[in-house]
Symmetry: C2
Subunit: 358 residues, 2 copies
DNA sequence: TTGTACGCGTTATCAC
DNA sequence: GTGATAACGCGTACAA
């Protein structure tokens, strides 16, 4: 006798079949809804399987069928600073949706000294995953270049600049920031600064574009020193705000690429003795719960991360089940959540004042 | 010939063996460091495997070996409110550590209408995971009762009240809150209120115990209305603070079970026109980056979530490799991070004033 | 409607 | 030191 880890405790299809006096093949077909099995037999098999707690081995099933019902998600490499606050929400939504179709979620990190594509390649080649969900998408993203060639289903949360030939779900970041600018302009602001993130990340680039485009539309001059890129944490936000406060033509409003940056900015302003929401308005993006808890409350563009995760999960499973179908390409809108941090500019600073301070 | 998904593209051990003119067995042993293969052969096989991009199928390997090098993590069910902020950090650390041992991380959600134990049972029975990491541990936790019986390796982040017979890694929450109380008392506070979480969750219970124990030690009366349980979000924190402000003997400090609650409390106090850090001090727990960005900065007990994830990952793999060994039971300490939200009480309210207001 | 037999890719055991 | 061969548990084409 060879070896093989004796799992006599485990209920296998062989033991179930013997117990029923049927062949393994019949049992398998009965449990997998084959049309050519007698209803009686199906019922009998089902009942026994249930009673004996039989659960097919995913491993064996994979080997036999050659498909892997597992989606891979590679956590963005953390270079020092912490992970996106809504990543957990997306994962939650993703896992929930996948569970509905009996798919699993494999989460992988990128070890020091390796890169994301390498990790993904290993996961595919070793047959651990049958599809991918990508997040934190860059304008040009090597992960997507890789996946395009690899013929496995994948869905991108966000998108690259060339995004015709794959499935994605993105927030309309550009529109969101055009809307945010519209809100500020409607309140009477014209001198609006921008604290942007890493312009390689496409969401940051799109938001920046929205800001610039709306500034042009509304005739708001983006003065030298109004536009800051590479603001990715509170510390950077503080320094940028310090610069803005020294600006000869101080802005009356600051638009921020994320809530985290906005909260850093608010902190810096408060420290400088500036009343946020009166002397200077601030708007963020994300809709973090924290924005509601700070003072003043953060006016922000909200996105539903959990729902994004669910939708992305649904799409990737659909794609795996119908590989030849069209790519879903979906654009969702962020919604403006108005709180205390953005109000009409202080009268003395306004050319055309239209109202007081709330 | 039956069917079988033709994966002629994939490099299997059979194709590799044929290419080399060797038997599959020899190739397998060469790649798996068997002692009885000629060094030349090993080198030759290695080289060919590398060149042809051979990567053993995890599925087939699992079936043959009967082991699953995958750890399951069940996301805490979200009943409305959002997910723990440091969960992503823990997952990141966990996945990173697992990757070092070539283990994987399977993340599962609990679908509506099911419970966590059910999900875990399915994952084990279907052979999808070979171990578990548990978080958000309750004082009595059915998940752990289940795992104790199931003879698979698992590690608990946190612990139940009866925790002798399994591996865990916990923060010393009780000591942390004793320390926090010590800090407040050292500053001159005696009237200290507590905003606690769900007392079924053991971390919340432990922190509560630390508060009560230190209050007794230092002779701080926990007046009627000073101790609030079940504060799990900012809204609840606000209501509780409103109550505290109406208290005939208003506290000079508020200790909060988490940073999220503390930030909610700070907001509520600010709204009521109370200067946080002067009229009333606030201390939280977690060390969220946000605590640094708010005003005043949040004095808090910090824990290193990412490192917790890494340690837990290391332990669970160790346990899988040496099932008979002792259970690791590790207690880490949180560290006090002092910022602006906690200072000596306002002089008029203090019996024994020892200093001014910073 | 059901039983038979083979294959998925790998590893372990036993001969040679 | 290497080659056969039998499992691991399941799915399915084909025969009955």
């Amino acid at each position: 006798m060879p070896r093989a880890p004796q799992r006599s405790e485990t209920m296998s299809i062989a033991r179930l079949a013997k117990h029923l006096g049927l062949s393994e093949g019949t049992v398998s077909r009965a449990l997998n809804n084959y049309p050519d099995i007698a209803d009686k037999t199906i019922a009998r098999v089902r009942k026994a399987a249930d009673e004996l707690g039989y659960r097919p081995s995913t491993t064996a099933r994979r080997l036999a069928r050659g498909v892997v019902e597992t989606i891979g998600f590679v956590l963005p490499a953390r270079h020092g600073h912490q992970i996106d606050p809504f990543l957990a929400e997306i994962l939650d939504g993703l896992a929930t949706e996948l569970a509905l179709s009996d798919w699993d979620l494999l989460v992988a990190a990128v070890p020091e000294g390796h890169d994301e594509v390498e990790v993904m390649d290993r996961l595919i080649r070793s047959g651990k995953v049958g599809g991918f969900v990508i997040a934190r998408t860059r304008r040009h993203d090597p992960r997507i270049d890789y996946l395009r060639k690899s013929h496995i289903p994948f869905v991108v949360q966000g998108r690259t600049e060339d995004c015709d030939d794959y499935a994605w779900l993105d927030i309309d970041n550009e529109k969101a920031f055009i809307d945010a600018m519209g809100h500020l302009v409607g309140l009477g602001h014209r001198k609006i600064a921008y604290l942007g993130g890493d312009p390689d990340l496409n969401y940051a680039w799109q938001r920046r574009s929205g800001y610039l485009s709306a500034a042009k539309t509304h005739g708001c001059d983006v003065l030298d020193g109004y536009l800051h890129d590479g603001i990715t944490d509170e510390m950077a936000a503080r320094h940028a705000v310090a610069d803005l406060l020294k600006h000869p033509d101080r802005p009356t409003a600051i638009l921020c690429v994320t809530d985290a940056v906005a909260i850093g900015a608010i902190h810096a302003l408060a420290h400088a003795g500036i009343t946020v929401g009166e002397e200077i308005s601030v708007i963020g993006f994300d809709g973090l719960p924290m924005g509601e808890a700070i003072h003043p409350g953060l006016t922000t563009m909200s996105q539903a991360s959990y729902q994004v995760g669910r939708a992305v999960g649904r799409i990737v499973v659909e794609q795996a089940n119908a590989p030849a179908s069209e790519f879903s390409q979906i654009l969702w809108e962020a919604t403006l959540t108005i709180r205390g941090s953005a109000n009409p500019p202080a009268p003395k600073l306004v050319t055309n004042a239209k109202g007081g301070i709330s």
